[in-house]
């Protein structure tokens, strides 16, 4: 039996190629083509796998990020509406949009607003939604200071700080299959609701303090890229630092940010000597004052 098998094997090895029909014959080019196709298929599979993997880890698409951000900012607007002054709102949008255009995520639908609150603060939501309170706006002296504040918030969005914070608080299973297109499903809709709630609470509890230092540092660079005097953000922090931290207007800001003196120190030292060439950037105090008269 064994001998017979060996004989057949030997026979087919010797005569096999000769009896093969042309359709079975593989030319070298065909082989290369097949290999290439297989490779591409593998790559595609890997890509899909990565997508599923990303999703499971909570990496959202930009569309989803914008959807979440819109919900979060609507929550904040529910707590404090926009100041009823179209000129002011447009002005803040122009300043913000111009700065955001200098960022790595200029394609986002950037929206800015001044909200009617005496609290001194500013908030950012994923996807490019940013609001500043009237309390903080009224402390500002020029457009460069406004630019510094908006740039800090823009940096939070560009670096996806809020999304990262939400990912940390929610368990991994939570993120599976979550997305805008899943909103039709009741279970997923409930998940989405939970996410928004946690997101809004984030505005009261605050981000990782390192994210705040990071946003300060990126803000001054962004402001300089937009043509503003980057040191204006230090001036804003100096002003805030001169206010009694126990005053009610600062309660949330103080609870959610590192001590202002520490921010000033860290930012000042990091900037030291690095942005001197850009210190002659614009302050635009005149334009700022013209707008600020109206509210």
């Amino acid at each position: 039996m064994k001998i017979l098998t060996q004989a057949i094997l030997l026979f087919s090895l010797i005569f096999g190629p000769a009896v093969m029909t042309p359709s079975f014959a593989l030319s070298f080019d065909d082989l290369k083509k097949n290999l290439k196709e297989a490779n591409e298929k593998l790559k595609e599979k890997a890509k899909q796998g990565k997508k599923t993997f990303d999703r499971a880890r909570g990496k959202l698409t930009e569309e989803e990020e914008i959807e979440i951000g819109g919900n979060l900012i609507s929550g904040l607007l529910g707590a404090a509406p926009l100041v009823d002054d179209a000129g002011l709102q447009q002005y803040v949008n122009d300043v913000g949009y111009w700065i955001a255009s200098q960022s790595e995520r200029r394609q986002l639908p950037w929206n800015f607003g001044v909200i009617d609150s005496e609290g001194i603060n500013a908030f950012a939501a994923p996807g490019g939604y940013i609001v500043i309170t009237l309390g903080l706006y009224n402390l500002l002296e020029n457009e460069a200071q406004l630019a510094g504040v908006l740039a800090h918030e823009i940096a939070h969005v560009v670096r996806k700080h809020h999304l990262k914070a939400l990912q940390k608080t929610m368990k991994r299973e939570f993120w599976a299959d979550l997305g805008v297109k899943a909103v039709g499903n009741e279970d997923k809709r409930e998940k989405f609701r939970k996410l928004i709630n946690s997101g809004v609470q984030l505005y009261a509890s605050g981000l990782d303090r390192n994210y705040e230092y990071d946003a300060d540092l990126r803000a001054v660079v962004l402001a300089a890229r937009a043509g503003y005097d980057p040191y204006a953000l230090l001036d804003v922090l100096t002003t805030i630092d001169s206010i009694n931290p126990a005053s009610s207007e600062l309660t949330v800001l103080m609870k959610t940010h590192p001590p202002t003196a520490k921010r000033l120190d860290q930012l000042g030292r990091k900037m030291d000597g690095r942005l001197d060439d850009f210190a002659s950037g614009q302050l635009n105090a005149g334009r700022f004052r013209q707008i600020a008269i109206n509210p």
């Binding site: 009261a204 390192n210 660079v221 937009a226 001169s242 949330v252 003196a261 990091k270």
Partner: protein, 175 residues
Amino acid sequence: MLSILLVAPLRASQDGIVVRTAAVHAQASHGSTRIGQVTAGTTVSVFSRQGGWKEIFSEDNSIVGWVRSYQVRETTAAAPVSAEAESDSRGFLAGLASFSRKASSFFKSGKDNKSSGTATIGVRGLSEQEINNAQADFAEFEKMKRFASSTKRAGNFAKQGGLSATKVPDIPGKK
């Protein structure tokens, strides 16, 4: 020196505290002559800021010059105490207390620096509770979107304000 002492008080200034021992320069530039030093805790008058520099006058060593802006902190008309200065150097605080002028509770009073932390009741503006209890206002959100700028509009706005896109290298940070 006499002329400095005469001139200095005549110029508009703000009270400030040196928060880090700083080299005083003749001009607002690193390359300019170093004319002296002010130590942390010294009270100074701050005349102006120019880029990353502040022009100061120190009565202690009769010196007028420029220091890095983060080395000095303005203390406004209110009490000049900052958390950092408080922990750095207690000795001069007693002296500062006499400097303290009348200030509304809005500004630091020096005595009441530590927040009770739980004072969310009666908070003006956005309180923690208000944020947590807020009902989303989608109509207001739609309104907000209507004020959005555009590439063209923001470009014109920048031009009118003398702003131009500038290449600025990143500053290396931890994250």
